[in-house]
């Protein structure tokens, strides 16, 4: 009997200043339940860049291809470290992490979306998630 090839969902790695990523995952889990293969890395004050990078490398070494990397702030150290890692690892990077993007990323990867397609979709969801609600509500029929 033919063995069905198991689709390996890409892992999600989150790099942030402080514990923002760690806490955001906890918040997302209030909505989604326990998330699988999501790893967070907190850049703490004084942390050596080598230590921060090596901790991430340890996970990337084990990850299947197409890891999706979220960073908080474009141009910040977590973002710069992620780009440096892209030289050696097959990753897609998206900045501006918010909870909507994380939720959508989990859903899309379970449905087979990966690589650049996943990153672009997730970045768009992130942007759409930012709404000026007061006016929206006021103008709603």
């Amino acid at each position: 009997m033919a063995k069905i090839k198991e689709h390996t969902s890409p892992w999600i790695i989150i790099l942030t200043h402080g514990d923002a990523g760690k806490e955001l995952v906890k918040s997302a889990e209030m909505i989604l339940g326990k998330l699988k293969n999501v790893y967070t890395f907190s850049l703490l004050p004084n942390m050596s860049l080598n230590d921060f990078t090596n901790d991430i490398k340890n996970v990337l070494e084990k990850a299947p291809k197409d890891t999706l990397v979220f960073v908080d702030l474009f141009g910040g150290t977590p973002s710069n470290v992620a780009i440096a890692l892209s030289r050696d690892y097959d990753i897609s990077i998206v900045s501006g992490l918010n909870i909507a993007m994380l939720i959508e990323a989990d859903s899309l990867r379970e449905n087979g979306v990966c690589g650049k397609e996943l990153a672009v979709a997730v970045a768009n969801v992130g942007k759409e998630a930012c709404k000026e609600i007061t006016t929206l509500f006021k103008n709603h029929a």
Binding site: H17, P45, N46, S48, L49, D51, F74, G75, G76, I83
Partner: protein, 163 residues
Amino acid sequence: MADISLIRIDYRLIHGQVITKWMKRTNAQRIEVIDDKLYQDPFMSKIYIMAAPPGVKVEMLTIKDAVDSWNKNKMGDGKLLVLFQNVSNAFSAWEKGFPISKIQIGGLGSAPGRKVVYNQITLNKEDADILTEMEKGGVEVFFQTVPEDKPAELQKILKKFKF
């Protein structure tokens, strides 16, 4: 003549604090990263060049280029923010003639042999000695991570932490 608004030593070079706080405080239009090693690495250079805030130009220079540019035409016009990744690079540039009257130590990371002396800044004996030499040579050395921090003088730090 370029107005060097700030000369900063920061192991993370262009990052959060620099983009959000120091650019606003100095109104610098250009960021000059002086680093021989980084200059040789176009991939890493590109990361920092891309990290610049909108409207700000980032330039990667070797120490020699920086000194030559200063000697030739005082690095052009406008306000500059100069970044060094570590103390020895700053010292090397200063020795070779790059003008440093004041230098801000903004961030130096942990490593074996280093201890935290102020906020997110670590020192070891080698750095402490180099900075002392620069100070003796007329450079004002102060420690400050973000503008809200009170700048701390080198001598006060060294009195507290023996190296």
